[in-house]
């Protein structure tokens, strides 16, 4: 029955939490995810703040619960195309993109990928590593199935030949399924601001200039370098690393005038991790304000300064220049406390970009009939009285797609539970 069924769009930690909460209350949950696996951003991270626990170790059990729970049906590699109806009775058309692999048969052994001749940049590794045209996005993927990237596949058929389980089906067609649900939850998360919009930084031109998400992939044991922090240009261990805060955030030139709220925290976390791992590597953080609110964060910053020797410079740098031979980067900045304008050379520079709505958020909002705010985040029906309701009755939202007032992982999980409670409340009254 529709009143006991819920659709959740977006398989990050927020959507996963909402799925589990609702499933354990007896609701049937369809969890739709655009990419081949659930997990979202948290799966890309190395360690989480402030306990410095391994991110995947916390997330993976929840992902597995989702795949095993009788009340949760995963619809990965799928997109929501049309929504009709109203609260209590939505008719949703979901497009199941063909992954050319039978999920029920695939064991995830990976022999197909070993033999696939095509190599392309891996989106999960933020284009830093490579994957094959037939691939699993990361080792702990849920569902544990390979997917064929048809755009890059040359249709040589080797994967099909090598597969022992007969799971490869290169003739799969896209399929539309109709779902009848009582409520919808949107938890599609965020994208990163594109730093090429700031030409004076040189992102895209300089090899050793990376974003914080790229750094996470370099630090992560499942990443392209096996967890070894090395410079993209020459594979050497960086000895002088700089973080630059507020790249695009708090910047009226790009419309992202808000503070993205988690970057100060994660950069300090990353700085401490790096210092722990490589005591001979110096880390400097260039910031405008150090926003470390909440329980334990200010203390963590203090420890970063006193115990771990992380250097903090109050300055928003203006430009970065590359040494053509060493590929080291010189940052030009004014140390606003000393009042000195200088340039310092680093061998790796990490940009902390603003977190922005996903490129497809507006389109999804249109499909749902929901409003977005001027930044493109989903608008809450009322931020005080109905903070996780969207402007469409029966459609709710949680996580960063609601905007940066949500903080880090605990906040996203909290909101996931909040929307689950709202959905249950609303559907019980229908």
């Amino acid at each position: 029955m529709a009143e006991k069924t819920v659709l959740i769009i977006g398989g990050g930690v927020s959507g996963i939490q909402a799925s589990l909460d609702l499933a354990s209350r007896g609701y049937k949950v369809y969890l739709v995810e655009k990419s081949p696996s659930i997990g979202g951003r948290m799966a890309q991270l190395d360690k989480t703040f402030p306990t410095l626990d391994c991110s995947m170790c916390i997330l993976a059990p929840k992902m597995i619960d989702c795949s095993h729970h009788a009340n949760v049906q995963l619809l990965t590699y799928s997109e929501v195309k049309r929504v009709k109806g109203s609260r209590g009775n939505f008719l949703v058309t979901v497009l199941r993109k063909p992954r050319f692999v039978d999920e029920t048969k695939c064991t995830g052994c990976g022999i197909c990928a070993d033999h696939c001749p095509v190599e392309v940049p891996n989106e999960f590794d933020e284009q830093l590593g490579m994957r094959k045209a037939i691939y699993m996005p990361f080792p702990q993927a849920v569902p544990r199935s390979m997917t064929v990237d048809k755009a890059n596949c040359i249709e040589c058929g080797l994967c099909q030949k090598m597969c022992q389980a007969g799971a490869v089906d290169l003739k799969q067609e896209p399929k539309e399924v109709e779902l009848n649900v009582g409520a919808v939850i949107v938890s599609i998360g965020f994208d990163l601001f594109d730093p090429t919009q700031i030409p004076t930084y040189g992102y895209g031109r300089y090899r050793n200039l990376i974003t914080s998400l790229e750094l996470e992939r370099l630090l992560c044991a499942s990443g392209p370098t096996g967890g070894h922090l090395i410079r993209p240009s020459d594979g050497k261990i960086p000895r002088k690393i700089a973080f630059i805060q507020c790249v695009g955030s708090r910047d009226r030139r790009f419309g992202t005038t808000y503070c993205s709220s988690i970057c100060c925290k994660y950069s300090v976390k990353d700085a401490v991790l790096i210092r722990e791992h490589e005591p001979n590597t110096m880390v400097t953080i260039f910031y405008i304000d150090l926003r470390a609110f909440g329980k334990g964060f200010q203390e963590f910053v203090n420890r970063a300064k006193s115990e771990y020797g992380v250097r903090f410079v109050r300055s928003s740098p203006g430009e970065i220049m590359e040494d053509p031979v060493t590929k080291n980067l010189a940052i030009w900045y004014e140390d606003t406390v000393a009042g000195r304008i200088e340039s310092t050379e680093f061998d790796l520079v990490v940009l902390c970009p603003a977190l922005v709505p996903r490129a497809d958020a507006r389109e999804l909002a249109k499909v749902l009939g929901a409003e977005v705010d001027s930044y493109g985040f989903f608008k809450a029906a009322d931020i005080l009285t109905n903070p996780v309701d969207t402007t469409v009755p029966g459609i709710f939202a949680c996580g960063y797609c609601l905007g940066p007032k949500t903080g880090d992982i605990p906040d996203s999980i909290m909101q996931g539970s909040a929307t689950a409670a709202r959905v249950a409340e609303v559907l019980e009254r229908v």
């Binding site: 004076t200 300055s315 928003s316 004014e334 606003t336 009042g339 304008i341």
Partner: protein, 163 residues
């Protein structure tokens, strides 16, 4: 000394047509890090100048050389994330400095030339002759009367005529 600060200075600058950006400055220093002059001399530092205005150091800004190092290249303005409009604020304090009689000789000479001939620099005799030999139009002072009327109305005439 605190008693020498003018706590209204920031608002005074903010009330000028080009100065309102001073209210938005968060002192991030991005302006200074791009300034070509600041890289060459520690005398000039856009962020510090904004700081001095915000804190009320009127006596240490308006009568000094500080407003006159700026190239008006607008690099600072382009980089400011908050709309502090440093390059514009520079004009605002220069306007205020001029009213106090602080005006470099080069600027005063250009202003005087503008008032007397409608142009800040004029061609010398040989250039005028060359012009004529090439058949190019004459350089005139046709607009002088109107220009002088305008400058009288705006009050710049007084500035030009004062010693």
């Amino acid at each position: 000394m605190l008693s020498e600060l003018d706590f209204d200075f920031m608002q005074k600058v903010a009330n000028t047509p080009r100065g309102k950006g001073i209210l938005l400055c968060i002192q991030c220093g991005r302006c200074s890090s791009g300034c070509p002059v600041a890289r060459l001399t520690s005398e000039h530092n856009p962020r510090r100048l904004m700081e001095m205005i915000i804190l009320g150091f009127k006596k240490d800004v308006l009568p000094t050389q500080l407003p006159w190092y700026c190239l008006s290249c607008f690099t600072c303005l382009d980089r400011c994330p908050q709309g502090g409009d440093v390059g514009e604020v520079m004009f605002a304090i220069r306007n205020l400095a001029v009213r106090q009689g602080n005006i470099p000789a080069g600027v005063a000479a250009q202003a005087k030339s503008l008032y007397e001939t409608t142009r800040v620099i004029n061609p010398i005799r040989t250039a005028l002759d060359k012009r004529e030999s090439l058949g190019l139009g004459r350089i005139t002072t046709d607009g002088l009367e109107e220009v002088q009327k305008i400058l009288k109305k705006t009050g710049m005439e007084k500035i030009v005529k004062s010693p």
